[in-house]
Subunit: 338 residues, 2 copies
DNA sequence: GTGAAAGCGCTAACAC
DNA sequence: GTGTTAGCGCTTTCAC
């Protein structure tokens, strides 16, 4: 009961061999008498021996823990990314330690400042809006901690990054609207200062330009990622001097907010105003009309950023790598002008 | 660069005092000369000293890590519970290590078997469907690891549990349907063998009985928690000899599936067939008609189970505690017979 | 009030 | 092929 866990010492005592022999047998390394090894392994499994990670960690200077710092887990995108990360980590025998910032830059800062570098082998990060933690990330990197950014990256830091193709996704979304006959296309953008926001805005602007479509400053509104922001921004859009006939939202969440606003105003989605999102949250198939969107490869982003991090951990000087995964246009009802 | 992290030794050398003095100063314990202490603290903060958790863990036999084992994180309920857990853990300086079973009992088993008890101070668990890990949980407990179950509990194990009031929630859901004039009430139940499933079934049955409502075996269908299950089960329900006029679904996800099926069959939700769920997933306000449901206190469940676990960790023989949190009926459009 | 030394569980030279 | 020993970073007696 009293929490006595079996140690290597117990095994050695019982089998009447030395600690090192047990250690060697357990790790299947060096030459150990086959028979001895089998006896050790048998006893270990019988007594349910498990190595103490604190001890192995101390010896190796490693912990088999990787940290994840991200804004939220309560949305489809992030929870799916984590599931992807976890898939790779699990198969490679790494634990994942979760830190949630609630998209608050203060919380993010406090997490990083209190982070014990020695209790982590590596770190996966998606920064908060208005993050001012750049220099702290740099400190961590200087202390030798491998870091990979995903989705919301900090562009001033030279390390590996994994993200969807924000620019081309936005470009494709807007071209889709244009092809379907919409001519006054607005954009519900993300918070300013986020790399992802900027990329999607640029994709939006370039698609308009490339197709000689009109652009008005009042058609682009920056705010948070929430559904509520999408809803209230849409009311503003409806007040525009020149009312838009289509909305490209930076995320599905905001697109859903927009649709709710349009419904409340009895505006026919698709026919009167087209709506396209970005994510492919399953909710887009449940809402009516269903939501056209750019699908993000969330699960793969999780897998790939974890794989990349593990490479960094294994090779001391692995070259920083930037991976950009393409999105896929998924056409549904919200952009059909029937 | 070469990953040299500042240690207590560095501080001692630089300040020309002994290791123990530094250690004592840092932990604000024993008598340390006020001035010495200040010097140590100043240098520590200047050099950004962080204790090595592996080392402190080894000394104390503790790690400040708590594990969470659960089926999924990609749904509203679980991701919200985790956010609650994280809130408490963060404030108490504990890390959370995430293990996802994908609702597979094999994966769950493998996770538990490979769990190094010595790398965890405690464990929070929501079991997978068809879990057969009971005896393994018992082993962990015998080894002295504090465990708290939440939501999906294993009833054969004597330890703390935190859950919503499944029985009364179901009871209230069904009474609500009855009050609104529905008389042939069906139940899309969860997988057999899960305590939660059973409780909700019992609440359903007792509410029918108490109100002298008819009950037919064909009106209750057991299957998984997914939306797809809800959808296909609903088609079965529509084939019943005596077609039900209301559906109580074990979760909002299944209720959503049911609504989708009803919509495809052009059945008027509310008027022809009422639908009520259990969770209060935000999607219930987005779908049309909006979904009546029993709200689960997911965030609080997370907070409370984490608080309870911390109590177990601190007191060696803390009495197992069963906490049951009430749900709240939230009436929306899907149960209105307009 | 401070230092020396042992030890947490394990690994890794270094002997033999 | 196996044992001995030092040491990872820190805490904690036990001296002084």
């Amino acid at each position: 009961m009293g929490r006595h866990v079996v140690t290597i010492k117990d095994l050695a005592r019982i089998l009447n061999v030395s600690l090192s022999t047990v250690s060697r047998a357990l790790r299947d390394t060096y030459d150990v008498n086959k028979e001895t090894k089998e006896r050790v392994l048998a006893l270990a499994s019988e007594l349910n021996y498990k190595p103490n990670f604190n001890a192995t960690g101390l010896c190796h200077g490693s912990t088999h823990n990787i940290g994840i710092i991200l804004p939220f887990i309560t949305n489809y995108y992030f929870s799916t990314v984590i599931t992807g990360i976890q898939e790779i980590a699990y198969n490679s025998n790494y634990n994942i330690i979760l830190y949630i910032t609630n998209d608050s830059s203060e919380r993010e800062l406090s997490i990083i400042q209190n982070l014990s570098v020695s209790s982590l082998d590596g770190l996966l990060i998606s920064v908060s809006s208005n993050s001012d933690s750049g220099s702290h990330f740099k400190n961590l990197i200087d202390e030798g901690l491998p870091i990979v950014f995903f989705d919301r990256v900090d562009n001033n830091i030279d390390t590996s990054k994994v993200m969807q193709d924000d620019y081309n996704g936005a470009f494709e979304a807007v071209e889709h609207l244009i092809k379907n006959g919409y001519t006054k296309i607005s954009h519900l953008a993300g918070p300013k200062g986020l790399h992802l926001t900027e990329k999607r805005v640029n994709g939006y602007l370039d698609a308009l330009k490339n197709n000689n479509m009109p652009y008005r400053e009042e058609w682009i509104i920056h705010s948070g990622f929430s559904q509520d922001c999408g809803e209230s921004d849409t009311y503003k859009l409806l007040q525009c001097e020149e009312r838009p006939d289509a909305i490209f939202a930076v995320t599905d969440q905001k697109a859903i907010g927009a649709m709710l606003a349009l419904k409340k105003k009895n505006i026919h989605i698709g026919k009167e105003i087209g709506v396209i999102g970005f994510t492919d949250d399953p909710i887009g198939t449940i809402i009516s009309p269903s939501l056209t969107t750019i699908q993000e490869p969330a699960f793969n982003i999780g897998k790939i950023c974890c794989e990349l991090l593990l490479k960094h951990i294994k090779k001391k000087y692995f070259q920083p790598n930037e991976v950009i995964l393409p999105g896929t246009l998924i056409v549904r009802e919200s952009t059909v002008r029937n």
